[in-house]
Amino acid sequence: MSPVAENKAITVSVPTPLRDCCSGAAELSLLAASPRAMLDELEQRHPKLHRSICDETGAVRRHINIFVNTQHMRERDGLDTQLAAGDVITIMTAVSGG
């Protein structure tokens, strides 16, 4: 049985268009062990922000990228990437348009 990952104090950087969903905050301080746990925490504390990042099935929206520090989470272990204290999770929109 694998040990339960310990929550770490992390910072979530919120993109400008979504700051209205969390009272204007540009950054949120959270305790989370992984990006998945971070999203669970957002769902509890800021449901409108969570809904803008994830659809109703819980999947991260197609044009949203989640970075752990400077690395895209997919280059590590995706939503199960283990976080360290002081990590910064940045939520960014993908480059697209037309």
Binding site: P17, L18, S52, D55, E56, A59, R61, R62, I64, S96
Partner: protein
Amino acid sequence: MSDKIILCIGTKKGLFVAESSRNRRGFTLRGPFGQGVGVYSALIDTRGTPRLYASSCNPFFGMKVLRSTDLGRTFKETKAAPAFPKEDGRALANIWALEAGKDKKELLCGVEPASLFRSRDGGDSWEIIPGISNHEHARKWQPGNGGLCMHTILRDGNRVHLGISTGGHYLSEDGGETFTAANKGVGAGFTPDPFPEFGQCVHKIAGHKDAPGRLYMQNHGGWAEWDGPGGRRPDIGVLRSDDHGKTWHSIAKGLPSDFGFPIVVHPDNPDILYVMPLEPATRTCPGGVPAVWRSENGGGSWQKLMRGLPKKASFYTVLRDAMDIDELKSPALYFGTTTGQLWIGRDGGEKWECLFDALPPIHCVKAAVV
């Protein structure tokens, strides 16, 4: 007395609102609202103090519903947009229809993937309507080019008519609790069976409050040349029903093409209707010459209305919700094009004039007197 015409113009880059006095001599334009985000549906709710609603299809952050209580000077997001229950497994992809419901603050919303939602508080919270959203056919419907969309919601007392592309026409006679497929006479050109029980690519359905049994449908036509299994299917594109949509028959004879998207009924006369025929292959105006076609006898015959419209080189498309008519004594038609032009057809479409010629591609146009 009402003294303004309001137009909601949903585009690829947001919602615009145009306003004019009753004489319609000049329209002022506001917007875009929901900047940079596609708007596929709008509603001008004239019950009580007018409210404007629009969907905002954000490719990054998902669906929002915008609401204005000041005739489109400002818009705010409602507290929530429709959403499927988490265990359903479907995710909202777009909002295709916003309509007034039975009670004053009730709204109905048709979405992609094809499902129906209801709000009882003016758009701040939503519940799924299972009678159609979880219908036994629902997982068998297929998306058309625009997606698997529920684009038409028509209420007539306890009857509710829905148009789904590609699902067909569904009818409820118990206020929206249960629905049955009602597509007898509605053809499909893309299945071996020319007249399946359901699965037709209905483009739009229109009705009239004074003739509740009468419905008109712009279906996916353009199959006259098909010579495979099931045989030719000419004239399946423009249809009429006189029994609340239970059976349908063609009224396409006399049109240059039975393919098109919008269909609109005159506010004072259920025998007068309008379509915009398009070439099936390109979905643009036949020969590059746009024209609205009007019938004054319920589809028995058709007249071409093109005075003021370009005479050549106009290869645009008018989408399913991009044509509407106002309710003044001599009503004006309005249509928006995928090339960003908004046209007004004064005197019921007799004389056309371009109101705005360089908007983003237009998805929907709604007109109301407020």
